[in-house]
């Protein structure tokens, strides 16, 4: 730090004010109450002892947020990607329409003749009549019709805002229809006003998947090392790349929740020996519940970034503890790295020392720091959109998180040990012995421990704060989502969408890393921004100057 200061740069290693000053400037426009609240959601990082951050608190009305709603988190993120469940949105048309293939969770059907239901957006398309007299009848008809037409294995129903308000009981409709049609039918009370963001929807979805799918199929899986990947949504084909690498290592994935996954795989995934968690925020509930019920241990992994991928593979191999697997993993890493290395070396010539900021998701703002570090880039500021304190500060903070009203409204399932199916593969003992040798389970150290000292951590960043950040530090790239992409680019900073990947990807694993390096290299090296100013735009005000234009023409 002192070295950087000596170079005339601030504590972030870039030109600009001190991060404390920057925070002050971001907050000063707010009314008192808003300022106080936003002040709790911003801090200067201390990786040794992470400070408390006011995450997962309500968005202040009128602050333009990138956050979505509970329905988006439940239907849009967690359950939506299961391709052979027929998903029906109960509500007026908007919600169902907007969640129709708008996330890039990719899917392939498993067998010839199957239908990928993700191409359908089924909605009860509630009209005024249902708002006034109730929509249960229409929902029943919709389920019946959908069954008649598609004969799916399962149907799931999602409630939108008006449903809860008019008192439609989707769960009793689902129970009745399950009885009538003889297939699995279940509902999610994920009305948009529940919780403070899509995060509430993740929790609701986890509960529903656990109650209605997990454990339905006890068929043993014939594979030596079998795991589930939790919290991987196969955006741009990430899950496929992870699957490719694990296959090379000889590790079998039963279910990836929820990306490119089938209903049957989820019903069978309690037959795994281990759960590894990618997105801690959206799915830690599931990992915990599966451990309680079936004795399957879990730990956090990160397949985004070279170091993260290597570390994760090695940890999985260590878990199984067999030399054959440990050696195989090293061979795979060596072979893959041989392909990656020349790309990194080439790209680093241009990316070394450049700066990035990341404001996205509930784990991506953390995971992608690994990829930027691989490229020698500095992350000067980061924050999540909908994460909780544990995703920033680490899980050791969990007992100290105050449960607010919004969280209390989301059901916490009471899970008990399954008397017959608990610990069938001695995973409890394996965990115990590994823990004794210092192996971490049920772990997540959070984003802030990995970030440099005094970098800016900003939760649920607003447009105004983003604007300030750009004005003060002008990062070389910002990783964010579609809703702020174009604002950022208007200000001359390239923005990489880390929800949809700008329709590229995959970025996970080794091949994904190569894609990402090339992409960020392209974005941070482009000369297009130089064209913004015409040759005659000489004056500081940015006004076109006729004199300058003439002068230019006469040269």
């Amino acid at each position: 730090m002192s070295e950087e200061t000596a170079n005339g740069k601030g504590p972030l290693g870039v030109e600009g004010p001190s991060p404390a000053e920057a925070m002050e400037q971001m907050l000063e426009v707010y009314p008192k109450k808003t300022k106080r609240k936003r002040g709790k959601q911003m801090l200067l990082n201390d990786p040794q002892t992470p400070k408390e951050i006011g995450a997962n608190s309500r968005t202040v009305p009128g602050i333009i947020t990138q956050r979505g709603c509970s329905y988006a988190g439940c239907k849009g993120v967690v359950i939506g990607p299961i391709y052979d469940i027929l998903h029906i949105t109960h509500g007026p048309i908007g919600c169902g329409w907007y969640s129709w293939l708008s996330r890039r969770n990719m899917t392939k059907i498993r067998a010839e003749g199957e239908t990928n239901y993700l191409q359908y957006s089924m909605s009860t398309d509630m009209q005024e009549e249902q708002i006034v007299f109730g929509g249960e009848k229409k929902l029943k008809e919709a389920i019946r019709e959908a069954y008649e037409e598609f004969k799916p294995k399962a149907i799931s129903v999602y409630a939108t805002c008006p449903v809860g308000l008019i008192g439609d009981d989707i769960h009793s409709v689902c129970r009745d229809m399950k009885k009538e049609l003889g297939i699995n039918i279940f509902g999610f009370s994920c009305e948009g006003y529940k919780g403070v963001s899509q995060s509430a929807g993740h929790h609701i979805a986890n509960n529903g998947v656990f109650k209605n799918m997990i454990g339905l199929d006890d068929t043993p899986v014939e594979a030596k090392y079998k795991i589930n990947i939790l919290g991987e949504y196969n955006i741009g084909g990430d899950a496929w790349e992870i699957d490719r690498i694990l296959r090379l290592c000889g590790i079998h994935i039963i279910g990836t929740l929820s990306g490119g996954v089938s209903y049957d795989e989820i019903c069978n995934c309690h037959m795994a020996d281990l759960n590894v968690v990618m997105c801690h925020r959206s799915i830690n509930y599931m990992a915990e519940m599966m451990e309680t019920k079936f004795g399957i241990p879990w730990f956090k992994v990160n397949f985004i970034g070279l170091e993260g991928t290597k570390k994760s593979l090695r940890k999985i191999a260590q878990y199984f503890g067999e030399k054959e697997l440990i050696d195989r993993v090293e061979e795979v890493i060596a072979a893959e790295m041989a392909e990656v290395r020349p790309v990194v070396q080439d790209v680093r010539k241009r990316t070394e020392g450049k700066t990035a900021a990341l404001f996205v998701g509930g784990s991506r703002a953390h995971h992608y720091q690994d990829l930027f570090q691989d490229m020698g880039m500095k992350v000067i500021s980061a924050g999540y959109e909908f994460a909780h304190r544990d995703d920033y500060e680490g899980r050791d903070v969990l007992p100290h998180i105050k449960v607010d009203a919004d969280t209390r409204n989301i059901e916490e399932l009471e899970v008990e040990q399954d008397t017959e199916r608990f610990n069938l593969r001695n995973t409890v003992e394996r965990k115990k012995s590994l823990e004794d040798s210092g192996f971490d389970f049920s772990d997540y150290e959070g984003m802030m421990r990995q970030m440099a000292k005094d970098t800016l951590v900003i939760d649920d960043i607003s447009h105004h704060e983003m604007e300030k950040l750009i004005e003060l530090y002008h990062p070389d790239i910002i990783g964010s989502g579609i809703k702020d992409k174009y604002v950022i680019e208007k200000m001359g900073v390239p923005c990489k969408q880390l929800h949809s990947y700008d329709y590229g990807g995959p970025y996970a694993g080794f091949k994904g890393a190569i894609n990402f390096f090339k992409e960020v290299d392209r974005m941070t090296s482009t000369k297009v921004w130089k064209l913004v100013r015409a040759p005659w735009h000489e004056d500081a005000s940015g006004e076109a100057s006729a004199d300058a234009e003439l002068a230019n023409a006469s040269v």
Binding site: P61, I109, H463
Partner: protein, 461 residues
């Protein structure tokens, strides 16, 4: 995403909607509010609505789209969102300093019956008339589509901002254009056309710049561009109004009609000017409204378009086409395709407007067989009928692509949303020039297909 499976033949669902041909009403309203200078759209409801709508508009326009929300929580959904509304508006004013706030309701606030008028009155009292004006439009999606939401917001703007008093002294140099839901390029073209007739235009809305802007030298809290508040307030005093879109004639009182009834500014109605006949009608109205004759440059544009019709007739005559989209767009497209000798076999919209089907039928060129016309349609229904009718070409939004792929026929992309091709903002469809553009797209889609399908693949067609 990658739909590897074939669509199963869908029967039209009786009760549910499968792949809707409509979006929600607040989206339409938000698009209108984006076309007013310094306006920040504000949705009263759960924040998901604002997020989803922004997401979708951005994927079409590839521009920043900020929409504020009152971010209802569960308590607010039960006890009412008045407090959220007040806080939200205060925050928006402090951060964005909007010149006007466009408030649209959502299914949530409509279902619980929020008293918007009361809340707005409270706001006005609190700011003692000094705050940014608030315009409010009711847009529950359980009664109307994005298209109806759009028109409702235009109406709300004039009703709530234009003084309802009869004007005797008119500004004869200025014409009101209520363009409907068209592209940014179309908006610019309309302004240019009015200019060619020697007048200036007040377009409501005018999102040509806000939704297709330049790079910024400095940060703008609200994208620059749009119709100014002043311009809107003076609409009652302009020479005349030209209101585009067939469906406005079906409304009890459209924005243009309101202006005429309350300020005396005469309103000329016309369909979206796509095709020569509808463009002729539009330019005739423009001549009447401005009192000027058509400039030579436009006569030449018309002439070239007719010439193109002649040249390409051999390629396209008799080809069967199915159209789906917003109601006004489909009506004008139906008129256009039947004029160039295509056979429209199916015209569909997601809206349920009474009288729309009759309007479409009336626009089909004499001698051309009347197509099937389906309102309140969804894509499943549209697809099922297309499988039976076997069109040679589809016209519609990006959402029609899976069907085009299945039927192996070209798709000409028009309407909302277009997120699988570049340049939706710049898609010119209006007037002779826009028709020419659309005509070339259609002819080239036929030629490309013919070439690809031919045994020899000659490059001389």
């Amino acid at each position: 995403m990658s739909a590897t499976a074939e669509m199963t033949p869908a029967q039209a669902p009786r009760s549910a909607t499968q792949n809707a041909c409509k979006l929600c009403a607040p989206l339409g309203a938000s698009m209108v509010f984006k076309g007013v200078q310094g306006c920040l759209p504000f949705l009263h409801g759960s924040q998901g609505c604002a997020t989803y709508i922004r997401r979708y508009m951005i994927s079409h326009f590839r521009e920043p789209v900020d929409i504020a929300s009152s971010s209802f929580s569960e308590d607010d959904a039960i006890f009412g969102g008045a407090r959220n509304f007040a806080t939200g508006v205060e925050n928006v004013i402090n951060q964005y300093q909007p010149e006007i706030i466009g408030v649209a309701t959502t299914c949530l606030s409509e279902t619980i019956g929020e008293n918007m008028i009361g809340m707005i009155r409270e706001y006005q009292e609190r700011y003692a008339g000094q705050g940014a004006p608030l315009v409010h439009v009711s847009t529950p999606s359980y009664s109307g589509t994005h298209s109806e939401g759009f028109h409702a917001a235009v109406k709300a703007l004039v009703e709530q901002l234009v003084p309802p008093e009869s004007v005797t002294h008119r500004d004869t140099t200025r014409l009101n254009i209520l363009p409907g839901m068209v592209s940014c390029a179309d908006l610019r073209h309309l302004r240019e056309l009015v200019g060619l007739y020697g007048l200036s235009a007040t377009l409501l809305p005018d999102y040509n710049q806000t939704l297709e802007g330049e790079s910024w030298d400095q940060y703008h809290r609200i994208s620059p561009g749009g119709t100014t508040l002043e311009e809107i307030r003076e609409m009652g005093a302009n020479a005349a109004t030209l209101e585009l879109g067939h469906t406005l004639a079906l409304q009890k009182e459209s924005a243009g009609a309101w202006l005429e009834n309350h300020t005396g500014v005469h309103c000329h109605h016309a369909g979206l000017p796509i095709g020569i006949r509808l463009s002729d009608a539009f330019f005739t109205a423009l001549s009447q409204a401005t009192g000027r004759t058509m400039p030579d440059s436009l006569r030449a544009e018309r002439g070239r378009l007719v010439d193109a019709y002649v040249d390409a007739h051999k390629y396209i005559a008799g080809r069967r086409v199915a159209i789906v989209g917003e109601p006004d767009l489909v009506t004008s497209l139906a008129a256009f395709v039947s004029e160039i000798g295509l056979q429209p076999v199916l015209c569909a919209t997601g809206s349920k407007l009474k009288g729309w089907a009759e309007q479409v039928a009336a626009e089909i060129e004499p001698g051309i067989e009347k197509p099937e016309i389906v309102k309140g349609a969804d894509h499943a229904q549209f697809s099922a009928r297309c499988r039976a009718l076997q069109p040679d070409m589809l016209i519609g939004s990006s959402k029609v692509y899976p069907l085009a792929r299945e039927l192996d026929v070209p798709l000409v992309r028009v309407g909302f949303p277009l997120h699988d091709r570049f340049g939706a903002q710049r898609l010119l469809t209006l007037g002779y020039r826009g028709t020419q553009n659309l005509f070339d797209l259609i002819v080239n889609a036929v030629l490309a297909r013919r070439q690809d399908d031919s045994v020899t693949g000659y490059s001389y067609l």
